[in-house]
Each structure stands twice: as C-alpha cells, then as structure tokens.
C-alpha cells in the first residue's frame, strides 16, 4: 500500500515537473490566448509579394473601369486618374521613360502588383475602407495596371496571376536598411 502510494506520488510529481518544463519551453508568462486560424485569416490583410494571403476572386481592367466610377474613385482621383485632388494614379510620362522619372505613383513605383491590391483593399475608398469585395479589388488593381501599360486590358487577375505580374520598376531599387541596432546609418558617412 505504502509503496503504491509512493509510486503514485512520484508519478504525479514527475507529471507535474514534465508539464512545467513543457510550459517553460512554450512560454514564460502564459498570458494571452492563441487565436484560431479563422481569426488570423479574418485579420491578416498583409499581402506579401508571393500573394499567399490573397483571397479567392477575379477581375479584369474592363470591370475595373466601371467600378472606378461606380465606387467613387474618379471623384477624387479624376476621370483618367490624373485630374483629381487625390494622388495621381497614372504616370504622365511616356512609359519608355525611366521608371524613377515617372513619379511616386503606386502602380508604377511598387515592385509588386500585390502592393497595389493590398493598398486598395486596406485603404480605399477614403472613409469607406474595407467595403470593396475581393472581386472588386482584383478588378480595380487590373484597371490601374492597365492604364499604366503594365498589363493588357483583357488580362484576368486572381490569386495566381496577380503575384506574377511583372512591374515596370523590376528590381531597380536599392536594398533596404537592415536596421542593425547601435550601428551608423551609412558606412563612411561621418554624419
């Protein structure tokens, strides 16, 4: 009896220790909760260059041209994307000009088409953010890329084709700072 109790206690203690060590490995404070995959999906609107986060849907520049007026884009950005008080959406210069000379225009300056999708989806239309459907965002992205001669008018954009769009800037931009702590900004720059 006594021996049994001893083993039972030892097992219980061992179990507690094991559990404690697993907990220690998993987190120090155990504060907060684990979000469900569903919750993460609902909040994760960061669309990376690979487009893995893109939702299902599709659209073309033709659909986008209609939506551009219907959803009020033209009211702020102008009829062709250049006449409004909101930022220009179409490069004014000849597409043959150097990309950097064509201005800081989203569909031209961004190295990935996914950024155009991400921007429209999270930030447009002004004061009605988050009201566009995925199909509408694909269509409006297609329209902006089309009017800047990045894709043809009949190109269908969806989760597969969008990340493959070749953007005018390509990789002609400087690599970004590493943000290494306690390091000067630029080697050889005394200031």
């Amino acid at each position: 009896m006594g021996t049994h109790r001893f083993f039972a206690c030892a097992l219980l203690l061992g179990g507690l220790l094991l559990e404690a060590s697993v907990l220690a490995q998993s987190s120090t404070y155990g504060v907060g909760r684990t979000p469900s995959a569903e919750e993460i999906r609902a909040w994760d609107i960061s669309i990376g260059p690979d487009g893995v986060e893109l939702p299902p849907g599709r659209g073309t520049a033709k659909d986008g041209a209609e939506l551009y007026v219907e959803r009020g884009c033209s009211a702020c950005h102008g009829r062709t994307g250049t006449e409004g008080r909101a930022p220009n959406l179409k490069g004014k210069a000849d597409p043959k000009t150097d990309t950097w000379e064509r201005g800081r225009i989203l569909p031209i300056r961004s190295p990935f088409a996914t950024t155009v999708w991400d921007y429209i989806n999270r930030a447009m239309p002004l004061n009605r953010e988050g009201t566009l459907t995925a199909d509408e965002v694909y269509a409006l992205t297609a329209y902006l890329l089309y009017i800047n001669d990045v894709i043809p008018e009949d190109a269908v954009l969806d989760a597969q084709s969008l990340p493959k769009v070749k953007m005018p800037i390509g990789d002609e931009y400087a690599s970004l700072p590493e943000g290494k702590p306690k390091t000067r900004r630029l080697r050889g720059y005394p200031y």
């Binding site: 998993s26 987190s27 120090t28 404070y29 504060v31 907060g32 909760r33 684990t34 979000p35 919750e39 993460i40 909040w43 994760d44 609107i45 960061s46 669309i47 990376g48 260059p49 950097w100 800081r104 989203l106 300056r109 961004s110 190295p111 990935f112 996914t114 950024t115 991400d118 921007y119 999270r122 930030a123 004061n127 953010e129 988050g130 800037i169 002609e172 931009y173 400087a174 690599s175 970004l176 700072p177 590493e178 943000g179 290494k180 702590p181 306690k182 390091t183 000067r184 900004r185 630029l186 720059y189 005394p190 200031y191």
Partner: protein, 372 residues
C-alpha cells in the same frame, strides 16, 4: 486669484497666461473643414526641459484621417506569421507583463527646415519627446517563439486605413516598445490610444499607432505605404529609417526678440536615432569658434537632450549655431557638408534633414532664420 472648480480639482489646467499652442504643419489645415486631422507641430520655442507635454506632442497621420475612438476593453493585439505560437492579447494581458518606462523622441521624416520658417516650431516642430511605458516587443516575440528565417515584421494599426509598415526584425528584438502609457497616463488618442508602437530613433511613421497586429515575415513586405520608402540610390536608402544626430537652439530662435545686449543662456535640444547624445557644441560667431555646451541632466538614448550655453551678447550682428555628436560618434552636419559629401546642390539633404540650423541675431536683437 484662481477659484477652485470641480474640473480644476479633477484634472488640472495651466495658467491663462501660458498660451503656447500647436499649429498645423506645412500649410495644410488641421483639422480641415471635415474634422480630418493632419500634421500638427510642437511649439519648441516655448519648451523647457526634455519632456513634451502630451497636449503639445506633435501629431502626424499617414493621411488626413478621423481619429479612431477605440474602447480599450475591445482592443486586441494579435501577433502571428513566422512564430511558433500566435498570440492575442488584451490591454489587461499586456499590463500584466514586465514593462519598461523610457524617454524617447519621435520625429516625422518631413521635419525639414526651410528659409520660410518664421519660428522654430515651423522649422523643427515635428519632433517631440515623451516618457513611454509598455512592454518590449522582444518580450512578446520571445513569448510567441520566433521561427527561423523570420527577418522582418509588419505592424498594422486599427484605424480606418489600417496603416502598416515593414521593419527589420533586429529592431523589434532590440528596443521597440508596445506602449500603453505616455507621460504618466494612457497614450492619448492623437498618439494611438490605447496602444502604439514606439520605434526608438526611426522616422516617426514606423511608430505605428492603434497597433492591433504584428506579423513576422521573411522579407520586406511592401504593404500599404512601404513602397514610398524605396529609393534608387543605396546611400539615400541607408539614410532612410534611422534619424541622424540633430540639434537646434530653441532660445534664442527665429521670431524671438532679445531685449538688449548682456547675458543670455542659450538653450536647445539635441537628439539622435543612433543612441545617446555625447556632446553638444555651440558657436556664437557663425562657426569660427565652437564651445562645449552643458548637457542638462543625463542624456538618454534616442531622447531629446537639453543643452545650455552661457553667452554675453555684445549687441553686434552675429549667427548662432549648434551641433551634436551621438554615442556612435556621428556628428551633425551643416548643409554645406552634406552637399559636399553627396555632390548635390546646397539644401538637398538625403533622409531626414538633420543639418545645423543657423539663427541670425540682428543688431536690434531680432532673431532671423539663417537659411533665409
């Protein structure tokens, strides 16, 4: 005499004789006729010490926007992406965790002096310094377990536009604060209530307000406005994120009037994204001679540092300058030095403008902008 009122007892007020206020920055109205808020500058000409009162802290928004009115009970911070264990935290959860309290400046990348500036508020007012309290982001990320290969993170706000920025993970693991406190009380709505990132020494846009989501990723994610940080030139890009060593004399500064010759303590602020300020020098003869200024108190890392320097004005026209050196040995440059280094026209400064500000003292005691 000031009669006690319920309001005055509950939440104190300053003297009616103290009238220093913020002003819209850069010629764009704030608020505009719709109530949208844009950039607002701090009255540095009236500042003393190093802490900016929360009511006078500068404000910048990623675009003209309505301030979100967030119920802290409802607010959540979610950390996910390349972590072993995604985590959702309430404000209550965050306040249970080990905290830090640190002085840090924030500065808008557009804080650029122009010849048109009529006050130091107009030339330099898009920077402020506060005491921030919160949990280190590194504490939270260790709690989640960072997966091998993670190298950047995206921080996103809960406001309508869901402003987002990509930042190097090395910065997150170093000194980024998930801040809920500011100058002894909850962060103000204009500063990101109930929760903001404080990214010490980086351009202000990275200190994400109303932060609700942090995602660990393996590359620069190019979300929202990230593409705006891209540059063609490697050097210009390198000067992007981190703010260089910078200082400005706040008294006497442009628009002020010296009553006559005699003694003045020159007073100013110095700060750097590279760490603590090690040295501040002042010239009262347009750079012919420099003398060490006195640093008031202890210089904190990535925080405004107050300096002072005795000066006997002889009543003659002259130019006052200040320049600082940070803990990394970087020295604040003049515009001429920057122009020479990059071989660009005078006044073109890559990255955030951290150049020396000349104040011209006229013989009648008026203080003029030396860039004009």
């Amino acid at each position: 005499m000031i009669k006690g009122s319920k309001e005055l007892i509950a939440y104190g007020d300053r003297s009616r004789f103290v009238t220093s206020v913020r002003i819209p920055h850069g010629g764009r109205p704030s608020p505009d006729s719709f109530g949208l808020v844009f950039h607002v500058a701090t009255p540095l000409q009236d500042s003393v010490g190093v802490i900016t009162p929360s009511s006078l802290h500068y404000v910048a928004t990623t675009r003209g926007s309505f301030l979100p009115d967030i119920d802290p009970q409802e607010h959540r911070l979610m950390i996910h992406g390349m972590v072993d264990r995604p985590l959702t935290l309430t404000m209550e959860d965050l306040k249970r965790l080990p905290s830090v309290t640190r002085l840090h400046f924030i500065e808008c990348a557009g804080n650029r002096s122009t010849p048109k500036a009529k006050t130091v508020q107009e030339s330099h007012g898009m920077t402020s310094c506060a005491e921030w309290t919160g949990v280190l982001l590194s504490t939270l990320l260790k709690e989640c377990g960072v997966k091998a290969g993670a190298s950047w993170f995206v921080a996103e706000g809960a406001e309508e536009v869901k402003g987002a920025s990509s930042m190097p993970l090395a910065k997150a693991m170093d000194d980024v604060i998930v801040a809920y406190g500011m100058n002894g009380e909850p962060v103000r709505p204009q500063q990101g209530f109930p929760l903001r990132l404080l990214v010490p020494g980086f351009e202000g846009i990275f200190s994400t307000k109303y932060v609700r989501r942090i995602k660990l990723v393996d590359r620069y994610y190019m979300n929202y406005n990230d593409y705006g940080h891209l540059r063609q030139d490697e050097k210009e890009t390198a000067l992007g994120y981190q703010v260089g060593p910078k200082s400005v004399i706040t008294f006497p500064s442009v628009g002020q009037q010296l009553p006559g010759k005699g003694f003045y303590e020159i007073s100013g602020l110095a700060w750097s994204g590279g760490g603590a300020i090690r040295r501040v020098e002042v010239s009262t003869d347009d750079g012919k001679h420099w003398m060490d200024a006195q640093i008031k108190g202890t210089a904190q890392r990535m925080a405004h540092t107050r300096f002072g320097c005795p000066w006997n004005w002889d009543g003659k026209e002259t130019v006052l300058l200040s320049r600082c050196t940070d803990e990394l040995g970087a020295v604040q440059p003049t515009r001429a030095q920057v122009a020479k280094f990059f071989n660009v026209p005078l006044g073109e400064v890559p990255g955030l403008d951290n150049t020396v500000q000349p104040w011209r003292i006229a013989s009648d005691g008026s203080v003029l902008n030396g860039h004009a």
